[in-house]
Subunit: 354 residues, 2 copies
DNA sequence: CATTGGCGCTCCATCACAAGGAGTGCTGGT
DNA sequence: ACCAGCACTCCTTGTGATGGAGCGCCAATG
């Protein structure tokens, strides 16, 4: 919170410190650099800034910008490139995003597969990576815990298949080994009992109530229930909250990243470490709207040369997950931001409908 | 088939044409090259072959081997490296595999997660990539078509959730939009009907019989059934036969592959094209035991510098899928082969138990 | 006659050096 | 305040030069 305030304050002072001209120059510098990946020199800026200044004057401003930490030069006789702070200022106050047009939105919408939640999430991730040519990333909705429907199916003598429809309409399944062999009618009875009494409750609650309210239950039945609950809990937490990534391959083709093989490998290792990613993306789900993490801002070194653009999505007005894109810091933010934004919104509405 | 015979014949003649010494030299050459990735010169061979020959004599043999296409030199003054054909001969007749010891097998077994088929397959793939440090690959079992159990669940007015337990004990689910709104009891009735009459049949069969045998059914019921069947069919074919790959990242660290970025990208693109991979791996599932594809033998250019080591796995004596490893052609076959072999066997027994 | 030491040759890898170019900082003039 | 010009720095590219690794060939050897 404090940090948040700091940021606001800093932004305000920075906006003051940078006069109109400096901002304009920083803007075109970042734009040019994003466009062709080469350090931008004073000549180029003089040509493209639209300010009609000579390179020499521009060099003065650039020196100031460098002093303030917005830009840096790789070496003496190269142009300048934006620093993380430069990018930050750029996306915060200089960027002009152009919203997607209707046709693109429709195309995007058409690519979402609404058959079930998994498919929806997977296709959302795919759409993101496809449109941006970076890696798409989606945090799947949190399970609310509890179930809508439960079913037992006898596989073998002491082997049951537990089928669990979660509150949000997803289906989980699990094999249970039992002590004794239950008859089909016993299984039906047990399932009916659970469905009638406990649908919608959390497993914790059920566990508590099952002993209090249903003392008349036969011993073996309670055992069955306990086993079922344990399995359900596991199944629920199993895919409780997961990260779906797609299009990592796209990152292979990006010069900024694939130059350092080691860095690239670190990055891909990060993708395997779902939990670490989750922490990062969890932060984003607390805020409203699109959020941007530039470079190592997230505190993860493998993301040094990456930016993460995220947006939370919701079901019935409650934030349940996050979508996003991971790409090089040198990305076309004005394109990526609306794509992430719209995808989050489409995902929200697709999930709310069910 | 003809091709198969050709291969046998060629192998026989090759074994004849290469005398003891040439074979020994080829063997150590391949081994050395696999070990340190550098072209092997006559000096090195003289030292390591155990044959007590001078480099000059060895050069003569090497010239012969080159003429016959088993080895090649990258340029005039470098040592020799094995060609695809050289590798082929090596794995076919020179290789000495050392089986895994008991401890390793147990470790491997311990890492397989038997909770359900998906997890089992995923963990098998993981184990493969983990142990070999290459990419692990598993073709999931074919669905036999048909179901063991079916269930309807009402989500909303005209929205049903179809739950389908396939013959092999996996659970699929699908959302169905219906024309009319069915009552819960109607749904139970329909499910019961399907379960009683058609469990175990293929969907094709059901479709045929449903019209013939059940003419007394109400119109809306037949509609429901038809919708259910369509969805089932789709759900079944959906994950009908799929390829699970893991540890692709490992390939990033391998010099042989990561030197040409473009090739690497092609390779990763191949991984996304599941169908192409399926065709390749399908071939392997026709043969018994471990199979090895070297370089482009499979006909896929992206695999130029790769080898694929596969083995089929079975349920109740019937081959249902394939496990394998994709790595650089320069891989330690004597280690990879037993790993793939054992994994296939463990997977078979884990699946047969259920 | 198979084996071997020796010789000349080829080709690659590495390094040093020079030339050219891009861009900067600074200074003095407008 | 702006700008033209100049000296300076540093990267990039190209060009030889050098050394080493390995081969092919040949004549000598047992």
């Amino acid at each position: 919170m404090l940090c948040f305030l700091c940021k606001i304050v800093r932004m305000a002072t920075e906006t003051q410190a940078l006069n109109e001209r400096a901002q304009q120059l920083l803007k075109t510098l970042v734009e040019r650099y994003i466009a062709d990946g080469q350090p931008v020199g004073s000549r180029a800026l003089s040509k493209f800034s639209g300010l009609d200044l000579s390179p020499a004057s521009i060099r003065n401003v650039m020196a100031d910008l460098e002093e303030m930490g917005f830009i840096a030069s790789p070496h003496t006789s190269a142009g300048r490139i934006p620093t993380a702070r430069g990018y930050r200022f750029f996306v915060d106050t200089l960027l002009t995003v152009k919203p997607l047009d209707r046709i693109e939105i429709h195309q995007l919408e058409g690519q979402l597969q609404v058959e079930n939640t998994q498919k929806l999430v997977a296709s959302a991730s795919h759409v993101l990576s496809d449109l941006t040519r970076f890696a798409g990333i989606v945090v799947t909705p949190r399970r609310s815990g509890g179930f809508r429907h439960i079913e037992f199916l006898k596989l073998a003598e002491k082997r049951l298949l537990l089928i669990l429809v979660t509150a949000d309409g997803d289906v989980q399944n699990r094999i249970i080994q039992t002590e004794k062999s239950y008859s089909p009618s016993e299984l039906v009875e047990a399932a009916n009992m659970l469905n009638k009494n406990f649908a919608g409750c959390t497993f914790e609650e059920i566990r508590r109530r099952i002993h209090v309210e249903l003392k008349q239950l036969r011993e073996d039945m309670t055992q069955l229930m306990a086993a079922a609950l344990a399995a359900s809990d596991q199944a629920a937490s199993d895919s409780a909250e997961d990260v779906v990534i797609s299009g990592e391959i796209n990152l292979l083709g990006i010069e900024d990243l694939s130059s350092n093989m080691t860095k690239l490998r670190d990055l891909f290792n990060l993708f395997e470490h779902r939990t670490t990613l989750l922490q990062l993306l969890d932060v984003s789900s607390r805020a409203q709207g699109v959020q941007i993490f530039i470079g190592g801002e997230a505190g993860l070194t493998p993301l040094d040369e990456c930016s993460v653009v995220t947006a939370p999505y919701e079901v019935d007005g409650k934030i349940v997950g996050t979508v996003g894109v991971i790409g090089p810091t040198r990305m076309a933010y004005e394109r990526v931001i609306p794509i992430v934004d719209i995808t989050a919104k489409l995902l929200s509405s697709a999930l709310t409908q069910r």
